[in-house]
């Protein structure tokens, strides 16, 4: 559509719309489920519950904006938890173990990026392959069982009772917020970020204009992997074990967050705020319905309806505010 006067209005909606959907859903649940739902304690709980998917969605936002996709994130998270647990068992200090977990995500991401740029296959196939490979590696590394690691402060990163109580929420939530801001800034204000948009928007053009497409993709997948490694750290913090079966199928939740938040699977569109809103939306729906104790199958149906509804709302809003 040709709507040039909208240029300034154009940048906000992608995220604003999903934030609106989020607010509406939160309000409806607050009315329905009452104080237990909107209590501060439950708000903190929901934030904590969203962190893993949200952190994964940060990386996925980058990758999807650059026109890619990463199906292997769930497996990466599992591998990361296993590596952290193994490191702790081997006596590494918690900080090092955590860094190792994040780093292994980065390595996996770099491998994805390398294969995507070298083999010339669609990322769907590559990361479908590495989904299996990383999962297998996690299982093999763990000796086909959960790895119990000693309890350290890593397991406190997502506590609901943060120790200086003025911090309000756990350090893991704050870290995720900081990372989100960092990713948003990278996307907006760095050459890498703009090139990611350019590649997702029109790869041939980007190449013709001298963008180092391969290198940018490699960076993007690697950064995405590091963020997923961070999600793995958060997962470990929550589970307190290295679990090779963790986060199975979570790739769908993570991709869904990005798409609900306005990301386009054909690339060039997506926003950090939107993806976070998407992740929160799913937690809110789950928590609200779970709290009311509706049967699981009803919860499934309602979740489906609400997701479609919230995104439709977003679209309608954009249209009425948009064209003309």
């Amino acid at each position: 559509m040709k709507n040039s006067p909208l240029s300034t209005r154009f940048r906000i909606p992608a995220s604003f719309g999903s934030l609106l959907g989020l607010a509406v859903v939160f309000l409806l649940f607050s009315l329905w489920a009452g104080p237990p739902f909107y209590s501060r304690y439950n708000q903190v709980t929901m934030l904590t519950q969203s962190v893993i998917v949200a952190a994964g969605a940060l990386g996925m936002t980058l990758i999807i904006i650059a026109g890619g996709i990463d199906l292997s994130v769930g497996s990466m998270i599992a591998l990361s938890t296993v590596v952290i647990a193994r490191a702790l068992l081997a006596g590494a200090p918690p900080t090092w173990a955590a860094l190792a977990g994040v780093a292994v995500g980065g390595v996996c991401g770099a491998l994805n990026g390398f294969l995507v740029t070298r083999l010339g296959l669609v990322p769907f196939i590559i990361t479908l392959g590495t989904l299996l490979i990383f999962r297998g590696a996690a299982t093999g590394l763990s000796g086909e069982q959960k790895i119990d690691a000693p309890i350290t402060w890593l397991n406190e990163m997502l506590t609901k009772f943060p120790s200086p109580s003025w911090t309000l929420v756990a350090v893991g939530v704050w870290l995720t917020v900081l990372l989100a801001i960092a990713v948003a800034v990278v996307l907006r204000n760095t050459v890498l970020g703009r090139h990611a948009f350019a590649i997702g928007s029109n790869e041939a053009t980007a190449r013709l204009c001298g963008v180092r497409v391969e290198r940018v993709k490699l960076y993007i997948y690697t950064i995405g992997g590091l963020l997923t490694g961070f999600a793995g750290l958060m997962q470990f913090s929550r589970l307190t074990v290295g679990d090779p079966t963790a986060a199975k199928g979570m790739e769908l939740d993570i991709i869904a967050s990005v798409v609900i938040g306005g990301g386009s699977l054909s690339g060039g569109r997506g926003s950090v705020a939107g993806s976070l809103a998407g992740a929160l939306l799913m937690t809110i729906i789950r928590s609200g319905l779970s709290m009311k104790g509706v049967p699981n199958w009803v919860q499934d149906v309602l979740t489906g309806v609400i997701i479609v509804g919230a995104v439709t709302l977003d679209r309608l809003r954009r249209e009425s505010g948009g064209s003309e």
Partner: protein
């Protein structure tokens, strides 16, 4: 509630999943106890079946909702320890059923001894094989505590029978029947001369049963499984299955709710830390005795 009736207790029962006969039996037992104790029951499993993270979230949701007590079948002995500890901190006591939990933050642990269950299965298989032959064991999935203990129990016990050789014990059937079925088919194609099979849960047992039926080997290969369902009972009757290790999920649900309610009403009441609900082997011969019958077909319809 602003009613003048005495405040009714709310008890959350959190299974590992909801779509399975086994959990239905636990649910029914819990309902029975809830009726008898006059408490309100919230039955809530993780939205994604068998997902640890989601089960943690459900426990947290129930804490936010401020239920009075929790009965939990933890998917993960370690991962669920922290939310249970947090519940305790928030003044909400928990009883653990079915599968163990680390730490001391719960009142009681009510379950089958899964390791023993696995050994029972091994003994039954050895018995019908007369201590001779080659067998395979199909596993369920990596990291699932209760089935891993059954698998271990089976392997440890079968070793006591020198005439029995384990051909394969490293293939996983996965959590759906279809994947178990395919793994079963592949195993049977690979070992056409197998004499006996053991499967450590309902879905693998059923998947393997389908594979055996398909290959025309049902009844010829000696087969011992775990847990019950209509199809498995029928197979037992037709002697396609030669043994089913049975737990008592109905009792687990019932005792779970009763125990937590007892603790809430009298925090100082003496409660056993570990309650074994027992495991028995159903065979084509004993399946019509009342005790076994009740375990094979728990009185689910009466309560749900």
């Amino acid at each position: 509630g602003g009613s003048n009736a005495p405040h009714r207790l709310t008890i959350a029962v959190i299974p590992m999943g909801t779509t399975h006969e086994y959990w239905k039996a636990i649910h029914a037992g819990a309902v029975k106890a809830a009726r008898e104790e006059n408490v309100e029951l919230v039955w809530k499993g993780p939205q994604k079946e068998d997902d640890r993270t989601q089960q943690i979230a459900v426990v947290e949701d129930m804490v936010s909702r401020r239920v009075n007590g929790i009965v939990l079948a933890p998917l993960d002995g370690t991962g669920l320890a922290k939310p249970v500890a947090e519940a305790r901190r928030a003044g909400i006591p928990s009883v653990i059923v079915d599968s163990g939990l680390q730490g001391e933050d719960y009142i009681s642990f009510i379950a089958t001894d899964n390791y023993k269950g696995g050994r029972l299965g091994a003994r039954r298989l050895a018995e019908i094989l007369n201590g001779q032959g080659s067998v395979i064991m199909m596993r369920v999935m990596v990291g699932a505590e209760s089935t891993m203990r059954r698998e271990q129990g089976f392997l440890d016990e079968i070793r006591n029978f020198p005439g029995i050789r384990v051909l394969s014990d490293n293939q996983y059937g996965g959590i759906t029947t279809e994947t178990a079925y395919q793994t079963g088919e592949n195993l049977l194609n690979r070992f056409p001369d197998v004499n006996g099979v053991f499967c450590p849960n309902e879905s693998t047992t059923f998947g393997m049963l389908r594979a055996l039926t398909d290959a025309g080997k049902a009844g010829k290969v000696k087969f011992v499984g775990f847990d019950s369902s209509e199809k498995l009972i029928a197979a037992l009757r037709q002697k396609q299955l030669h043994g089913l290790v049975l737990q008592n999920p109905f009792r687990m649900g019932e005792l779970g709710v009763k125990t937590v309610v007892r603790h809430i009403r009298d925090p100082h009441a003496p409660i056993e830390k570990r309650i074994d609900t027992g495991a028995v082997v159903a065979t084509p011969e004993n399946m019509d005795t009342p005790e076994i019958r009740q375990l094979l077909v728990p009185p689910v319809n009466q309560y749900l």
